[in-house]
């Protein structure tokens, strides 16, 4: 990738041409809401098949960054290219992008079943008729996330974990190439979180998906991310977690909170011992730059 950067581009060449493998290309992105700068001059590349995780403290602008990438918020400067298309005019490329918002905000009394929610994503086929024909497609998608038994349940009556599974199935329904997930395990109980991340990891490996994920959990980052992006109003680091997540970077990212994160990693609680040993093996400094698995 760094070799690509040095190649000289003719003037009429777009930056995206320089990164033929990029699934996500964010260039010089700045978001200001009212008079408040949310984040400034953020640039990064996520190559096809990679998992990139965005970390940072509360209020660092992680969700806003994801929302800007998806053209839900208009940036002051900069551009976002998703799967080779400018995010402001994605057209049919939208079907190749799966999105899972953080804690989906909806009316819990909305009388709609999981099956019907999934039908909303299969937009060309209509909502009212020929439901039997679409049931198999929907059941297949739900089976992938082990949620097939929820198909006829009312969406408002699902537990936090069940809802996240359904939303993941929804995001995966059209067989996307790119998955953008904002804290996908929010609302999942602690015991279920690990399984949920494993599930995402399994699906992305199986389908060669590119994943961009906001996460608050450094363990998850060490375990699954090919690339980590530390955000706190600006991009403070990017690279392989084992190589870039140094104490001074964490301190810069999280400010005073860093101490507690470091503490967590250097003196793991009993139930985390297992995971942390794995990390120690995994982010052996020699592994920087290549894919860890």
């Amino acid at each position: 990738m760094s070799g690509e950067k040095e190649r000289r581009a003719p003037d009429d060449m777009r930056t995206s041409d320089l990164y033929p493998d990029a699934a996500v290309l964010v260039e010089d992105l700045t978001l200001v809401i009212g008079d408040t700068p949310i984040f400034e001059r953020v640039s990064f590349v996520v190559n096809r098949g990679e998992t990139a995780m965005i970390i940072g403290p509360n209020g660092a602008g992680k969700t806003m960054l994801v929302r800007t990438m998806l053209d839900l918020l208009p940036p002051q400067t900069g551009t976002v290219t998703l799967l080779g298309k400018d995010s402001r005019c994605l057209g049919s490329t939208r079907d190749r992008i799966g999105y899972m918002p953080q804690r989906l905000d909806f009316d819990r009394t909305f009388p709609i079943t999981v099956f019907e929610i999934m039908l909303l994503r299969l937009r060309k086929s209509g909502f009212w008729l020929n439901r039997k024909a679409k049931r198999k497609t929907v059941l297949d998608a739900l089976t992938r996330v082990h949620a097939e038994r929820l198909v006829d349940r009312r969406i408002g009556r699902l537990s936090g974990g069940e809802l996240q599974r359904v939303l993941l199935a929804y995001a995966l329904l059209l067989d996307p190439d790119l998955l953008i997930l904002d804290e996908p395990a929010a609302g999942v109980d602690v015991a279920g979180e690990d399984t949920f991340y494993e599930l995402i990891h399994h699906i992305r490996t199986e389908r060669h998906l590119t994943v961009v994920m906001v996460s608050h959990d450094l363990e998850v980052v060490f375990k699954y991310a090919d690339q980590v992006l530390c955000l706190n109003r600006e991009l403070l680091c990017q690279g392989v977690p084992g190589a870039v997540l140094r104490p001074e970077i964490l301190e810069k990212t999280y400010g005073s909170l860093a101490a507690s994160y470091r503490h967590h990693h250097e003196h793991p609680d009993e139930h985390d011992l297992e995971h942390d040993r794995e990390h120690d093996r995994e982010h052996d400094p020699g592994a920087g730059g290549t894919e860890r698995r």
Binding site: Y99, P111, I112, L120, W128
Partner: protein
């Protein structure tokens, strides 16, 4: 049975039946989306703004229903515009337009000479005064509104469910806000002559609300709301004929009774 249907020998009752069936169906379909989007207050405001439109129509000598359609659409656009473009909550904006358009309506009525029986019939509806043009207008508009709602139902349901998901999938959410409010304004305008300004929003809200008490999925919600709307309209009309009561309030009372039944039935499940 033939006795019960004897009222159908009168042409004005045939027109009335056709009009209430159209309006009952239309209001029920629109009402499902209105309740999902929590826009009951908005539909109330639009229906009350029809008063000013009708008064303006009478004053200028144009068809009051046509004037009401135009005025309702303008008010709906105004509310949507201010809600999108200012920091005011939609609740506040609707409140301003609600009282403002009522005041304009009452002032315009004051400009008329003499006592306005015709205007008063618009307040509570007069289905027996419905003429052929009214029936044709409501049938045409109802067909257009229902067709657009069903054609784009996937999108409209998605927007009502979660705006971000809809936007990420390419929906122009704000444009659809305007479009939906226009459809609602049209629905109100074609319904006011039949059920009246004061009661039209009941015919929109109550069937959907009653259906929501017992429906387990969205398709049933829509189906049940339509059945309740049609039942309320026809039973209400027939009852008002035999009981010699005002048709608009009778129709509303029928759907309210159904609402109470579904509320109890839904609780018991």
């Amino acid at each position: 049975m033939t006795d019960l249907l004897s009222f159908l020998q009168y042409p004005f009752m045939q027109r009335a039946l056709l009009a209430v069936v159209t309006v009952g169906f239309l209001c029920a379909v629109v009402g499902v989306y209105v309740t999902l989007r929590s826009m009951s207050f908005f539909s109330d405001a639009i229906s009350h703004s029809a008063l000013a439109g009708i008064a303006l129509g009478v004053l200028l000598g144009i068809d009051p229903v046509v004037a009401a359609v135009v005025f309702c659409v303008v008010v709906a656009a105004g509310i949507t515009f201010l809600t999108v473009r200012t920091d005011l909550t939609s609740d506040t904006v609707i409140g301003v337009f609600f009282s403002g358009s009522m005041a304009v309506g009452v002032l315009l009525i004051g400009l008329q000479k003499g006592y306005q029986t015709d205007l008063l019939s618009y307040l509570f509806g007069d289905v027996l005064a419905v003429n052929n043009l009214d029936v044709a207008l409501s049938l045409g508009l109802a067909a257009a509104v229902v067709a657009s709602l069903f054609r784009r139902s996937t999108l409209l349901i998605k927007i009502a469910f979660n705006r971000d998901l809809a936007a990420v999938e390419g929906a122009n959410v704000v444009a659809w806000d305007y479009a939906f409010m226009m459809l609602l304004a049209l629905t109100v305008a074609v319904s006011v002559k039949i059920v009246g300004i004061v009661l039209v929003s009941a015919l929109i809200i109550v069937p959907a609300a009653a259906a929501r008490n017992i429906a387990s999925d969205f398709r049933r919600l829509m189906g049940i709301a339509i059945v309740i709307g049609l039942t309320g309209a026809t039973v209400g009309l027939v009852a008002s004929y035999y009981l010699d009561t005002a048709s608009g309030p009778t129709m509303v009372m029928v759907v309210i009774l159904i609402f109470i039944v579904t509320l109890v039935a839904g609780r018991r499940r």
